[in-house]
Amino acid sequence: MAGKVLTVTSGKGGVGKTTVTANLGGALALRGQKVVVIDADIGLRNLDVMMGLENRIVYDLVDVIEGRCRLRQALVRDKRLSEFYLLPAAQTRDKTAVNPEDMVRVCDELRESFDFLLVDSPAGIEQGFRVAVAPADMVLVVTNPEMAAVRDADRIIGLVEASEKGPVQLIINRLKPAMVRRGEMMDTAAVVELLAVELLGIIPDDEAIITATNTGRPVVFSDNTLSSRAFHNIARRLLGEDVPFLPLREAGFFDRIKRFMRTEGEQR
């Protein structure tokens, strides 16, 4: 087996890298793939809590690299699926504890037993990012339809392409269809045009993501929310299916009429 390494990165913090990693990993595993998600955010680990596995961690990535345990011992199996694993980050170390060659070596070993390896990159463009991108076969850049996130995504895309890890696939997270309809948020077309990369998926802003994190149960495992469907669609695209983007209803003519009727009585 020769697993594929997908690195999830963004430049800016807080755009949803870890959420995307956990849910995409879950969606792929639910489709029968053998999946391991790797937390490369050394010192600020969070993938474990997103997946509800924080109490099961014994060893971590740094223990593996520094030879305190075997790779298999550090893998934490998911509660729900038997072919879905987490390789946690160390919480008490910093990003200098892992270098790009270490990461490539760990991933090469894992490729033999998994179909997909998803690496959750730390924010920023320094060593942590370079370590996360080093083993990648494909880089997924997560952004939000918002100034700072798009600008940082562009920086990251430039760096990834310069390191010949491209072409990058873009995931637009936290899109608010109602704001797009009102012209208060950039739409998908605007972001894709600015960044000039291929779009892999659009995830609508969804309160279910927060409640899913509260309980450590990624949305892909539960009800049919819009965000869950969006993640499953991305997983299907990664598996080679041709899946159309979810209709999120962006600014139609009738919306404008409705808005006009609604605001007609208001003072300007």
Partner: protein, 89 residues
């Protein structure tokens, strides 16, 4: 305000459009690693170099970016002073 005006004519562009236009410029500068200040310096020096050899209309010189898919291009538009203009001076 009249219905048609409300529907088809906005007084201000929506903020999403403002964001897109601002980003277009910011990304062009980021990608080329050229700040607006540096662009001004380049413009002044280009004017200096060219006008040593050819009379140009310094006030009309424009140094700008054009943006392709993933490439930026520096474009200098340098109007030459015409014979007629020079005679009039």
């Amino acid at each position: 305000m009249n219905v048609l005006e409300r529907l088809f004519h906005r007084q201000e562009p929506p903020s999403s459009q403002v964001a897109q236009e601002r980003l277009r410029l910011v990304l062009a500068h980021d990608r080329a690693n050229i700040s607006p200040g540096l662009l001004d310096i380049l413009k002044d020096e280009i004017i200096g170099v060219i006008s040593r050899h050819v009379p140009i209309d310094a006030a009309g010189v424009q140094v700008t970016f054009t943006q392709g898919a993933r490439e930026s291009r520096l474009v200098a538009d340098i109007p030459l002073q015409t014979q007629r203009k020079r005679r009039g001076q």
